[in-house]
Amino acid sequence: MRWVTLLGRIGTVILAIGLALLVAWLIPSGSSSWSGVSQPVEPEQYMISELGVYSPQTAFRISVEASDNVRVYLLGLSLVEFDNWRTQVVEAYPDSATIFHPYTVPLLFFHEAYPEQPFPDLFGPQTQNMVWNVTVLDKGLETHPEIILWDPPPSSSFSHELFPADVLHIWVIVANPSDGTVAVDTKVWDLTTLAPKERVIRPAILFISIGIALAIPWLILRKVKKSTF
């Protein structure tokens, strides 16, 4: 009898926690702001934009529209990894310490592809073709596949919603493998949510099921008791 009460109350508590997780899952994610960039991408080159720091509670939806087929990647680095990458870049190019924070990823890719090259002028006519070349990008991604969060097949229209698993620095890369210049229009909407939906729903279902299973005998007993007295 006492055990039924004890287990019943444990069940109702677990059920309550499950319901709270369900509520967190049901609350829709809100879109707070959006930003857009329109930029041409030269033949066999790529462009990169730092989207910022996102977490399982602050995510984003991205849409990329291009005048021809392009490749799009979403890259993510944890804050610790990002610091490591920054350190590597600053060690390789001391001049980049204060100015090129958003270009940490392309600078590291460039350094890995051309370790002997000095600090490049990112947008200068002499080095631009080397730094932003698709082969440099491919080599970089091949070396660091763990940072790729999204890698859809080539297309001219993309849309994706991403809730990172952890707090991550996020970049979007648009690569143009074709022979002609491609006009690219990127739009990003910031999203906020209480909890990462895919992580919350399973425990919610599990807790609700266990909670109901444990609570039913106690609730029946309670009802029988009430009707008896």
Partner: protein
């Protein structure tokens, strides 16, 4: 009949009294939902490592979640014991074939232990869902932060309210004094910072850190220089933080021991 059965009887009785259905369930629901509402992972994007783990736990141990928790346990301790003393139920409980200290343990396990288990279980699970890396990489920081945050005011006040309830035998008055002490603690915290800032001396901070070890832990992760104090004001080492935490728990343990001794030997009903 062994000790287990009467202990369980008193424990379930205390559970029913402390958390009439569905009070416990409502608290569980709001603790769980509150964990997601009050944690803002994006707010600490500039921080990494142990400081991030400390901040995430501290956010959950601030207003209103910890405040609600403290009021809940103070209510449980005051009314769980005081109510029984006032209504004469304690006499019935003393007739059980169980030593007095086990009766008090059963009552505290229900009033304090269950609430603590609920808070910690839900919050750590919630943090695990939100930031698994932080929880798995820095479990000792998470544990230490909870230990420091709960020592004072939660456990310290629970011990004081226990003593007051046993001495006064009046639940309402003990609870009111407990809540007043809770607010007094908040005021003193502010004053201690003002005194330290005004005098440039860290003596007040160190004295308060014995009662409230979270101050030492907070200062360890965020040296006073970061919040406008002279940078040399007070930067405790990690072993000093552990020392303050140990001292804080010694005080809490001493108060509970006095409560147990009083309940076992001096309490007359």
């Amino acid at each position: 009949m062994g000790k287990g059965r009467p202990f369980l009887e008193i424990f379930t009785y205390a559970l029913d009294e402390d958390y009439r259905f569905p009070i416990l369930e409502i608290f569980a629901f709001f603790f769980a939902l509150g964990t997601f509402v009050f944690v803002d992972l994006g707010a600490y994007s500039g921080q990494t490592g142990e400081a991030l783990a400390y901040n995430l736990v501290s956010t959950l141990c601030g207003f209103p979640l910890l405040f609600i928790f403290v009021v809940l346990i103070l209510k449980n301790v005051a009314y769980g014991l005081g109510g029984d003393l006032e209504k004469g139920v304690m006499q019935t409980l003393f007739s059980y074939p169980l030593k007095r200290r086990y009766i008090l343990t059963a009552k505290l396990l229900s009033g304090l232990g269950i609430a603590l288990l609920l808070l910690l279980g839900i919050q750590i699970f919630g943090l695990f869902l939100l930031a698994p890396d932080v929880i798995l990489t820095y479990p000792s920081t998470v544990f230490l932060t909870y230990a420091a945050q709960l020592c004072s005011p939660a456990l310290l006040l629970a011990g004081l309210v226990l003593l007051l309830t046993l001495r006064l035998k009046r639940a309402g008055l003990a609870l009111v004094i407990g809540v007043v002490l809770l607010f007094a603690g908040l005021v003193v915290s502010g004053l201690v910072y003002s005194i330290a800032y005004g005098t440039g001396s860290d003596v007040a901070l160190k004295i308060w850190a014995v009662i409230n070890p979270n101050l030492a832990l907070q200062t360890y992760y965020y040296p006073m220089g970061a919040v406008g104090f002279a940078s040399e004001t007070w930067v405790p080492s990690f072993s000093e933080v552990l020392l303050y935490l140990g001292a804080g728990y010694l005080i809490v343990a001493a108060i509970f021991v006095v409560g147990y001794v009083y309940f076992e030997r001096r309490l007359e009903i």
